[in-house]
Amino acid sequence: MFSNGSKRILLRCLMWTLAIVVAFLILFPLWWIFVSSITPSGELFSKPIKYWPVNPTLESYSYLIENVGLLEKSRDTIIIVGLSITIGMILSVMAAFSFARFKNKGLSLAVAFLLGSMLIPDVVTARPLYDFLRQVHLFDTYTGLIILYISGIIPFTILILQNFLSDIPVSIEESASIDGCGFLQSMFYVTLPLLRPAIATVCIVNFITCLNNFFTPLFYSNGISVLSTAITQLPLRDNMYAVPWDLVSSMGWIIILPIIIFVGIFQRQIMEGIMAGGVKG
């Protein structure tokens, strides 16, 4: 058979082959979207596909900026996602702190409800929620959207933070109170700094969750359109196919590129965040 050395080389080769196949299956479609986005729209109808841009152009991108309002939509997305993450985090830290530190029947019930409500699917609540938002004039408003985005991230955030808080001993706050700290002071200056890594991790995961939220902006807004819904509402070009692929690919790439950079930077934290939720989940 094989000697030990050649066996090891064979194993290396196998590992790299598998890794390259996986990487190819994920990256190649993304590359295709990118190349399509800078290919002149006429050349998209070519067989076989050219995977290297021959006449690169940014015409689709400038079309998106001029006619689709790409910049306004990006701004709206950033505002909504940013505020949702921030406010959602503040509310969740407060609640998680309470759940981790105070025990009584009512509070346990509240935790059970908050976590259990994760199982309620969006579609089940969609129509009444839509009517309700219209009644209270929150339909198609920043406030309304932000409330719904926050609602979406609250259970997961509380779950993770509460686990983290349980590992921080109460004695730290006790000694702070002996030193004369009030309740709020000890929460802000003693406990919160210890929670910082957890908060960072959860924020990163929440950022992705909010950015990818499609259901909420689709059904609860009209005029305000974030990037994820905008890609489904691109103007049809006069070709025989139902997909304005030149615009979809460039819009898609605008959404994908920041995500690729973001994942590259925060790979470690994202892994931790996912696993913290996953192992407990």
Partner: protein
Amino acid sequence: MYENKKYLTIAWILVLPALLIRVFTTIYPIIETFRISLYDVKLLRGINEFVGFQNYLNIFQDSKMITSINFTAIFVVGSMIGHIVLGIALALILNMKFAGQKVLRTIVLLPWAMPMVVIAMASKWAFNNEYGLVNDFIRWFNPSFKLDWLIHATTASNAVIAVDLWKDLPFFAILILAGLQFVSSDMYEAAKIDGAGAIRSFFTITLPLISKNILVLSIFFTMWRITSFDVVYAMTSGGPGESTALIAYRITTEAFTNLNTGYASSIAVVLFLVMALLSALSMRAAKRVDY
């Protein structure tokens, strides 16, 4: 230190905002859904009358609904089999110790981090017969290949499942990988000394140890699949015909397009009850399986 009664007020004040938001966005609407499901509401014709459980009876006589239920079942089962089999394989690949490990893990995170709509919109074009990526790829090996995926019911279903797998399988694999970290390497050493090969130790050590983890994950992934919406909305719009209309898509069509809210609500209630039942059953099953 927090046993003092005065802290109880503080505790509730801290919880209240989060609680109120969740109550108004989930509890209130779900109660409304139950209520509306007992009415015949047709907004277009101005009808709004109490009909008891009539809407529920209609579900099982509605051929569109039966198509939806069938496709949802195929979608969930097909996708979950793929998730489990390929997910374990991918988790093992991610667990390999080699120089590219970190880069590979980062790449695998990408599909999870992207919005399903973008993937689904791209897939609509990717599965195009003439100019799509998928057929172009197949033509590298079989130059005369021709198939318009999204025009035929069966191939469209397969395409939807494939896209779902591309997007979520990596996430599933990463979660299995988390479980793999807890399998200590001593066991493999011991197995090696006892003469077990790699395949044998996978089936006798790895698989039993991570099976509970996989079971719990599968429960959640199954739930998410039962309520999938984005993929079908952006990729096939339920077509061709109604053949890829998942239940969630059917509900929103009835509720927002046909404005048949009573009927839509009754489907939503059934979906909710199925989810609740499934989660209760599977939680119990997960507790019983213990290694």
